[in-house]
């Protein structure tokens, strides 16, 4: 597992109960219980960790990222890291 993958999983996982932190790439954010408040905190943590800007407005009906894997891929693309 690459650094980015591990970091993203750690950031998402710390918002979840301990028994739900064993995340897989295919896990859907809505199904693992990420609500809008958790989402904005998670986005803040990702921005701080990777020194990036993630445009996100809580009023947009659909989340741009639906799974853990999609977040990992997006961060890798923005940062150019594996």
């Amino acid at each position: 597992m690459g650094d980015v993958t591990a970091e993203v999983i750690a950031i998402i996982g710390k918002k979840l109960p301990p028994d739900k932190r064993n995340l897989q790439m295919a896990d859907r954010l809505d199904e693992i219980g990420v609500d809008s408040l958790m989402a904005v905190e998670m986005i803040f943590d990702l921005e701080e960790k990777f020194d990036i800007e993630i445009p996100f407005n809580a009023n947009d009906a659909k989340l741009e990222f639906e799974t853990v894997g999609e977040i990992v891929e997006a961060i890798k693309k923005i940062t150019g890291k594996a």
């Binding site: 809008s36 408040l37 809580a58």
Partner: protein, 404 residues
Amino acid sequence: MPHRVVVTGWGVLSSIGHTAETYWSNLSRGVCGIAPAATIPTDQLTQKVVAEVKDYDPLKFFEEREASPMDRVAQFGVIAAREAIAHSGLTFDDGLSEQTATIIGCGVGGQSTQDENYKRLYRDNAKRLHPLTIPRLMVNAPASQISMSCGLRGPAFVVASACASATHAIGLAFQMVRGGQVPVAVTGGAEACIAFGTMKGWEALRVLAPDTCRPFSRDRKGLVIGEGAAVMVIESLDHAKNRSANILGEIAGFGMSADAGDLLSPDAGGMCRAIDGALKDGGLGASDIQYVNAHGTGTAANDETETEALKRAFGAHAKKLAISSNKSMIGHALGAAGALELVATLMSIREGLVPPTVNYLGPDPACDLDCVPNEARAMRVDAALSNSFAFGGLNAVLAVRRFA
């Protein structure tokens, strides 16, 4: 025997007018006060639009020595209170001063003072802060400054419940007058929270609209922060009649609830309980209401949830209600919002005109009630509600009616 409670004066300082009269004139014409911020730098803001009080010069209203101890928020409160008291024709002599309450809503206090002083300290390495930093920023300053400036010596305090502060404040003042604790209260709300640090905080919450405020509309993108103040003079009916006061309207009922659920997401059940509470408290049935001045922030979640709450509270009558959001024009003035909006609601009854929800692009199926899109509507309103629903799940609703 509870007293009937009537409104006999109002004053407004807003993004669309520095007096109650200009405020109403612009509200009724659908004038939008939202524009790029002019009082703070915007180069580091991703969301740059706000509803500021335009062309505000404290020295038009105060002597230098009067203005100095006050942050913008307390100045706004005092200006609106002076206008309201002048409008009411009251003078506080013969012991009335001691019997007049001052109950003002304010969400966050002197944000510009805090921001400027922390910037001096952390960025400019200043050795000392201005000696009036604390009295300027304290959240109770609007009530304190109004009581001092207007000579009101009865019960005085600020109510802080974020976006519902003013509605809670007016509700408490209403209960005090109704219960006979005081014959007169000066009540409303003041807010001036457009400071750089505060705006960065709002930006981080990801709920601000990048364009403008479009309550109940499709493609709405969030709320727009506003500022201002509105203050009313309220009296027991006996007191008002004894001095032959000009009665502008009646406050009939007040309902409150807490969601005890999500920190930020609204809850239709909590909203509905506050609406039901206001109707019941005012002895009003659902079909007595013609107009609801909505909380209507323009966020996806509020407007959809408020629509659901109105349907639950009003049943089939919900489809007959006119529902509009002043925030489409004046933004969300947080702790002042409920007062600005209650004055607008009372003016709607008086003038037979409901202000529109402007910036409306078209229907959202989740907000399928009549939100008076884009154009004001001439209609008779005998009774109306004003809704306020705060972050933290604190709900407050006032019911008002035509005085007869």
